[in-house]
């Protein structure tokens, strides 16, 4: 048993020796150096990019949020009542569905679950995220908050082809 293990080792060693005997080490060194040069060049040219991205990404994201908000801002219904702990009904523009929204103080809860009535009247659910704007003007004593529906509702809560709830961003 032991002898066979030794034979395997000898065989592997012999193969290793034969493989390495023909290696041109200088050539290998030069090849590695060439690859490192290329890697260094790529690295150098990529250094400036993250800084640009760091600035550009938030700006682009903010612009996109404002754009989406303007484009698909839903209407409020007349019976909307704003205030902590109260409920509000939002009517979605161009949509047959509606959302029953519980207004929750962003300081208390970052996430809230919202029932959205599907076109067949069956309540569906999606998740919303409330982000306190903290700088917005108070409206009826309530500071405005960003209200973002961040997860698509089930298919049966179809709100119309042009009104995907996932994309709704609503400003109180």
């Amino acid at each position: 048993m032991k002898k066979q293990e030794e034979k395997i080792d000898i065989l592997l060693r012999r193969n290793m020796a034969e493989q390495l005997a023909g290696v041109d080490w200088d050539k290998l060194s030069t090849a590695i150096s060439g690859r490192l040069d290329k890697a260094q060049q790529r690295k150098t040219s990529a250094i400036g990019l993250p800084t640009v991205l760091k600035i550009a990404a938030p700006v682009a994201a903010a612009a996109a949020v404002v754009f989406v908000m303007v484009m698909i801002k839903p209407e409020r219904t007349d019976d909307t009542q704003w205030g902590e702990g109260r409920t509000a009904t939002v009517k979605l523009t161009g949509s047959r569905g509606s959302a029953s929204v519980a207004i929750i103080d962003p300081a208390d809860r970052a996430h809230a679950q919202v029932d959205i009535a599907g076109k067949n009247g069956t309540p569906a659910k999606c998740y919303v995220r409330i982000i306190d704007s903290s700088t917005g003007q108070k409206e009826d004593g309530i500071r405005p908050s960003w209200f973002m529906i961040s997860k698509a509702e089930p298919a049966h809560a179809d709100n119309g082809a042009n009104q995907d709830v996932m994309a709704i961003i609503y400003l109180f």
């Binding site: 395997i8 493989q19 080490w25």
Partner: protein
């Protein structure tokens, strides 16, 4: 077991003190390219030993070594302990070689198919097959049939001057697990290389 020992290769890095290596690593981490080139010179033979052991082909191994050194160069800033440079580098080389095995496998299978066609005209006896080229192909096929962990374990385990603890650290498993992989690899090689062990 010692692959690549007994005068086959001199480990250049052994000629330099640990402090010297650490200085080179620190300088490389600061972006000193010359220091990294020196590390390449010191460790390229060691790296080739690992890659050849995994791939059983010098050309494939050279490709893996080049790619491995580039990875090491780009990530040397992440190496927290310069004294562990050797283990860290050899792990990168071994992983690169292991992931290159797919390509090597395809080439070996193509070569095997060509051999099968050739065998209609001529059949090699084990003695004949034990020539350098044939031996390489037989061992390569056998090594490629091993699992990644087994191939890596038997390769690193066989390197001179590498302790079992270092191998286990490089493989990210216990010494016992390394021994088990080596045991399983040897068992399989015993079967696959049976004709050449007699």
């Amino acid at each position: 077991m010692s692959i690549g020992g007994e005068g086959i290769l001199v480990n250049e890095a052994r000629k330099v003190s640990n402090a010297g290596i650490e200085r080179l690593v620190e300088a490389s981490r600061r972006g000193n390219r010359g220091a990294f080139d020196e590390l390449v010179r010191l460790y390229q033979r060691r790296a080739m030993q690992v890659a050849v052991a995994v791939l059983c082909d010098a050309d494939e191994a050279a490709e893996a070594v080049q790619a491995g050194f580039v990875k090491a160069y780009l990530n040397i800033g992440k190496l927290r302990e310069p004294k562990r440079f050797e283990s860290w580098l050899l792990r990168i080389i071994a992983n690169t070689a292991i992931s290159q095995r797919k390509t090597a496998k395809r080439r070996a299978e193509a070569a095997k198919a060509a051999d099968c066609r050739g065998q209609e005209k001529r059949t090699f006896s084990p003695a004949e097959t034990a020539g350098a080229q044939e031996l390489r192909e037989v061992i390569q096929r056998a090594m490629l049939r091993l699992s990644r962990k087994q191939a890596k374990a038997i390769t690193l385990f066989g390197l001179e001057d590498l302790s079992q603890e270092q191998v286990s650290e490089m493989m990210g498993c216990s010494v016992e697990a390394v021994r088990w992989h080596v045991f399983r690899a040897r068992q399989k090689l015993k079967v696959w290389l049976k004709e050449y062990l007699e």
